[in-house]
């Protein structure tokens, strides 16, 4: 369980990192926290010629709050995001998801950008970003581009990142008015990758009906995705609706099968967690509306 021999490169600037990516032509791995890549290197599931350590790029460790969004540099540690005082007020879904990400001893080093780059279908941070319709910022010699998170994840450990690009940051839409957020997952051990994780953002109008809804599923198919819930907009934000949505969506998913769970179990988790998370989001939205 030792990695293959690799060249170690620690660039001081993003431009240097991009030069290295070009030099190794796709045969290099970028390491930030190393919580996923380190394991894959040690098990020789990846055998790169070079490891490019971006931990020296301190500019990528900033959190910036804008009018409508919060930007997190790719190197923001999960623990640093959790300790960011306004996280629950600004990006509540991320604040709810983070305690489920790994453990005290892994969040201290693991980064938000690294989790997105790794693209485990069960990972919580990509799921939160997809549910909120956030974006991934990538930089290459051709310039910068913002990619909607919902189009960024292409499949198991596969993203739209090109071999010459580095992820520099993530963009999180801020909490919206009259909107509630909820997150829940089932994992074999607290902090492990979820067997199934469910996230929701729900807006409830003054008539008590759903005016906007985003229901994100992780660990179900080969990437985090948002379920097609458009037909339920306008329905009342009640337990009956929550159960109706979860039951309907559970019939449409095509769950993966692995050593942890079969498809039926994952489908059942979509039903149970889905109804629970939707109702929690409806309740939170109603509370926000009444407080406003």
């Amino acid at each position: 369980m030792k990695p293959v021999a690799f060249e170690y490169c620690r660039p001081d600037t993003v431009d240097e990192a991009l030069e290295l990516l070009k030099e190794f032509g796709g045969d290099a791995s970028i390491i930030s926290g190393g919580l996923s890549l380190g394991a894959m290197l040690n098990m020789r599931l990846v055998r790169p010629k070079a490891v490019i350590d971006i931990n020296g790029l301190e500019d990528l460790a900033n959190i910036t709050v804008g009018d409508a969004t919060v930007s997190t540099g790719a190197l923001v540690r999960q623990a640093a995001a959790m300790q960011y005082p306004a996280l629950m007020a600004d990006v509540p879904l991320l604040a709810l998801a983070l305690p489920n990400v790994g453990h005290y001893q892994t969040r201290s080093r693991g980064t938000l950008g690294g989790s997105v780059a790794h693209a485990d279908p069960s990972a919580e941070i990509p799921l939160a970003l997809v549910t909120l319709s956030g974006a991934v910022t990538l930089q290459s010699p051709r310039g910068k581009r913002d990619m909607p998170a919902r189009e960024f994840f292409l499949g198991l450990l596969t993203t739209d990142r090109h071999a010459d690009e580095v992820i520099t940051g993530l963009t999180w839409p801020r909490r919206r008015d009259r909107t509630g957020y909820a997150f829940e997952e089932i994992a074999q051990r607290h902090g492990d990758f979820a067997i199934t994780a469910v996230a929701a953002e729900a807006t409830i109008g003054s008539d008590g009906n759903i005016s906007d809804l985003s229901l994100g599923l992780g660990g179900v198919e080969d990437r985090p995705f948002v379920a097609a819930t458009g037909a339920f907009v306008g329905k009342p934000g009640t337990v009956a609706t929550a159960e109706d949505i979860a039951n309907t969506i559970a019939e449409t998913v095509d769950p993966m099968i692995d050593l942890q769970a079969n498809a039926d179990y994952r489908r059942q988790l979509v039903r149970v967690l889905g109804a629970r998370v939707l109702m929690a989001a409806f309740t939170d939205a109603t509370r926000q509306r009444e407080a406003a």
């Binding site: 369980m1 030792k2 990695p3 293959v4 021999a5 690799f6 060249e7 170690y8 490169c9 620690r10 660039p11 001081d12 240097e16 926290g33 190393g34 919580l35 380190g38 394991a39 290197l41 040690n42 098990m43 490891v51 350590d53 931990n55 623990a79 305690p99 790994g102 453990h103 005290y104 001893q105 892994t106 201290s108 080093r109 051990r189 607290h190 902090g191």
Partner: protein
């Protein structure tokens, strides 16, 4: 920019438990192996080598984290605390170690060094944790002997509760 060739042995200098020490590492050498085989500090244990079991946890640059997911060359110049640095100056066990001893919080001891280092940092950040917080922190460690009850008790005792 720092570049180290795959077979190149690089001098790595660390401040381990307050003492400046150095050795040589090629890029793929895990920090865990560097501590054990280059520095002779066998207290940090190697379990799963992919970040799951927690046996190798040390306090690296002020954070309790996995030393099997760090390469030694990444750590040049950093401060590291390992289990060897916990005892009092006269060699007697510190408060946390005594609490582990008194509560039977270890049997085979393989996981203990990592749990002690996590708990040390955790108690610095959270001096009066409740039981749920202790269990949440411990979820990053695997112990196959104790069933965790005694470990939870020991950590609560060490926090004066």
């Amino acid at each position: 920019m720092l570049r180290i060739k795959p077979d190149q042995k690089q001098r790595v200098t660390l401040v381990v438990n307050g003492k400046t020490v150095s050795g040589f590492a090629e890029p793929r050498m895990l920090l865990t192996d560097f501590l054990r085989h280059e520095l002779g500090l066998y207290g940090t244990h190697v379990g799963c080598e992919h970040g799951v079991c927690g046996a190798c946890t040390a306090i690296i640059d002020g954070a309790a984290t996995r030393s099997c997911l760090r390469y030694a060359v990444q750590c040049d110049g950093l401060e590291i605390q390992t289990v060897e640095g916990l005892a009092e100056a006269d060699g007697t066990l510190n408060v946390l170690q005594k609490a582990f001893n008194e509560n039977g919080a270890l049997q085979c001891g393989f996981c203990t060094a990592g749990i002690l280092m996590s708990s040390t940092k955790f108690l610095q950040e959270n001096p009066k944790p409740n039981e749920d917080e202790v269990r949440d922190m411990l979820s990053g460690h695997i112990c196959r002997c104790t069933g965790y009850e005694q470990i939870v008790q020991a950590i609560l005792q060490a926090s004066g509760q």
